[in-house]
Symmetry: C2
Subunit: 491 residues, 2 copies
């Protein structure tokens, strides 16, 4: 192996870091809490972003761009919002540096203090609704269906690459509607878009649900979410979609005249997914040899590696390798022919396994004579001899097979890790020994939710949509409950 | 007209603002110095960004993402760089707000003061070269050809939408090379990419050149640029490409071992264009009725407007309009069929003229009978009756004609506004009465350049590439000069 990867059993968290850093996705930076997204990781994000963007546009949304900075007073306008977001944030207080008169390099110029501090956006509801006040006058201006791709900052002391960083990249949709019904429909539609994206592109099965009051977005009436399961049995929130009611419209005085010329406050939604999804992708699929990336979003779908000794017939191998690569490109499959002389095939194999390239094609002199190649799947590591004739069709089908097979595997694992618990003892034993989601009765109070969290580190991930009614007793308090809710320890 | 546009003659600067705001490109925001890029403006930027991104990838570059924040000390490492960029910038000094114990809302928590202030990136050379130190060890790691799409902040007191704002969007390429020759070739290659983009996509002729020492990027050995001419006779710098020598490698100690195992500092380039280009696009082509957008980057290339009274045969018109729209879409032309009943055709015509949609198709009941439509070009306002049969082919050709014709018109204007001056009197008269570029002799000293700027507000835009040698005398000092340089008043 070219690069040592810690195994999952040995140290799950180190395994994750090894994959992210050595797999070329991201790295720590010279700035505390901020990461560098490396070219391979960014190419993955571009594929995810482009697909999501298509899905947003197909559902009638357009992109726009709003300021990075939010005046401090804006954050305070919505009472719940300020509690949730004003705390850990990057605060700009000055707009100039100057040379230290005592020769100590550059220092902050005390005379360049801002009258009002600016917050680096942790999320953009406030600045956007302050803008919507000018854009929305009449029902004819509604719905307003806008999305923004942006960087946001939430100060974090303990960070993990992709999963929790001070700065991250995301998209945030902010829509405005004439009625609550329409806004709720939008909230649910975008949750469905996220679920479809996670399942069909990331091969990541998710549970759709609604958050409890204490896990709700600061300023929302209802927060919907999709929850995925990682290989260590912990849950990861993979996207949220919020019905904001008229909270932000009231905070920023955004009213519209309806068809009867009556003034009313506008109804709002917001929804977002971030580069955090990449962390989920890594943890859901990869193994001890490296990343396993779903073909539909992999930056590189196929790699072709020539096997040769010395220069014997190297030209013939190269010619065939480039011919195959051109054939893949022609049908829209991303491919690299790796003719680098500086590393041996074994080293290359390990490197592409580490990087999670879905299909590896090896081709030696005997293959050349037989008009065959060796095709290896990254997910199962199966190898098959395949005729060169019809190879692109074979590989195209194989990529779809891998995509489906990765989803099925993650789904089987996820389904095997949804367990019911009827007592606190069972509940804790499950969390400690098996992990995964636990369906349990809860009395519906934030106090009980908090007490269970304190005791077990498990939180209510969501109340699944279409949750069946079931009479039972809260696992902590024994008080009556009408349905089970979905608990897990989570990222 | 639906919206009043100030004419160019009346108030050029107000005309520009009217086009940008009323044309739906951008608007002021609740944050001083920051703009909102509206959906129509952002769609234009997306088209520009996507084309540039393709051109960067075609020349072997990959995208990555580096932190928004730069530790203050990083800026000071390169002596010239800190002078240029440490001054007007947004400084993050704290990472938390708290509730005011005196009830005054939220205030900065004095206990959450950063040990070292963070600067919101004005440009990313420092943070990127601090990262490259870990990425580059050997000649095998070179060249490193990376681009970043990002927001940057340079504090500005007097701002103009797109042209000068505190926050703007841009791309910044940062490449690393084993030799000076290779880095210089990269610098020039990217200048060519920018020139090609400006001319072929923005229909904007540009002059390629190199900056004088005083106009050079802070930290560069040489700054290359493309300069365009606006309709008011002022120049606009439309892109820059810098050869950075080993300055940043030395500042951040980035060395590589060459093929002979000798350690040497790495050679660097950086290059960028920004949303400022949109300002140039507006000012180069538009007229008193609104924007005129080049077809290759216009968010909407064709609009179809039905002309009818009451409901008579409205269904037939709608059916035909949708059929035509589908036919345009099928061949990759972006189109809208505007069947909105709330506004009259005249209002719609004015609105699409304001927005600069290149081709407008009007279709009334008589057209329906005759199987014709009326096709209007936005740039020349010519109208032509065209048979419906073969319409997509006709329009596809017309879009290319408009693209070329816009370029030719801008080029003719530009060429008519490059004038020679041999005395200060001629020079000032030209600037005041005709505007445009003035070719004049200069003695090569920064002092003279500064004196001319003080006296006339004109700067040396560049020394054009392949500038002919010509003996002459400096217009200000009379000292000998070997070539003319390109002066202009500029944005
Ligand atoms: Zn298990
Ligand atoms: Zn003129």
């Amino acid at each position: 192996m070219s690069k040592e990867i810690t195994s999952r059993n040995e140290d799950y968290s180190q395994w994750y870091n090894d994959l992210v850093i050595k797999g070329g996705l991201a790295d720590h930076s010279g700035v505390k809490g901020c990461m560098v997204i490396k070219p391979y990781g960014f190419a993955l994000w571009e594929n995810m972003r482009d697909q999501l963007d298509r899905m947003f546009k197909d559902t009638g949304h357009v992109n726009a761009y709003f300021p990075l900075f939010i005046p401090k007073s804006f954050l305070s306008r919505e009472a719940a919002h300020v509690e949730g977001f004003a705390k850990e944030c990057a605060v700009v207080t000055h707009y100039r540096l100057k040379n230290d008169p005592n020769g100590g390099g550059v220092i902050v110029d005390p005379e360049a203090k801002l009258e009002e501090e600016l917050i680096v956006r942790p999320t953009s509801e406030t600045i956007i609704w302050n803008t919507y006040r000018d854009w929305i006058k009449s029902y004819r201006d509604l719905p307003l269906l806008i999305n923004q791709w942006a960087n946001v900052v939430r100060w974090e002391m303990r960070t993990r690459l992709f999963l929790r960083t001070a700065e991250f990249l995301w998209q945030e949709g902010h829509t405005a509607h004439a009625t609550a019904v329409e806004a709720i429909a939008e909230t649910k539609q975008m949750l469905d878009v996220y679920a479809t994206f996670a399942e069909e592109y990331m091969a990541l099965p998710v549970i759709k649900g609604v958050k409890t009051e204490s896990e709700r977005f600061a300023g929302a009436v209802d927060t919907y979410c999709i929850e995925a399961l990682m290989q260590d049995g912990k849950a990861l929130q993979a996207g949220t979609s919020h019905f904001l009611g008229q909270n932000f419209a009231k905070a920023f005085d955004v009213r519209f005249s309806d068809k009867n010329n009556q003034l009313d406050y506008v109804w709002a939604t917001s929804w977002g997914v971030s580069t955090r999804l990449i962390g989920g992708l890594v943890m859901a699929h990869s193994d001890d040899d490296g990343l396993i990336l779903p073909p539909r979003i992999a930056p590189l779908q196929v790699v072709i590696v020539p096997i040769y000794k010395g220069e014997e017939r190297k030209d013939a191998l190269d010619a065939k390798g480039r011919e195959l690569a051109a054939a893949f490109k022609a049908v829209g499959i991303s491919v690299k022919y790796d003719d680098n002389d500086n590393s041996r095939p074994g080293f290359k194999f390990a490197e592409y396994e580490l990087k999670g390239v879905p299909v590896r094609i090896a081709m030696g002199l005997r293959d050349l004579d037989n008009n065959t190649v060796e095709v290896a799947r990254r997910d199962t590591k199966e190898k098959t001899a395949v005729p060169m004739e019809g190879l692109t069709g074979y590989v195209r089908q194989l990529l779809e097979t891998i995509q489906q097979s990765m989803y099925d595997k993650a789904m089987a694992y996820r389904d095997a890790h949804i367990t019911r618990a009827d007592t606190m003892a069972e509940f804790e034993k499950l969390l400690d020994e098996k992990g995964g989601f636990v369906l349990a009765h809860w009395d519906g109070t934030p106090a009980t939710e908090e007490a269970i969290k304190e005791k077990t580190k498990a939180t209510i991930r969501c109340i699944p949509l279409n949750n069946p009614a079931e009479d039972g007793k809260c696992i902590l308090t024994g008080r009556p409950s009408k349905q089970r809710v979905l608990f897990a320890r989570a990222y």
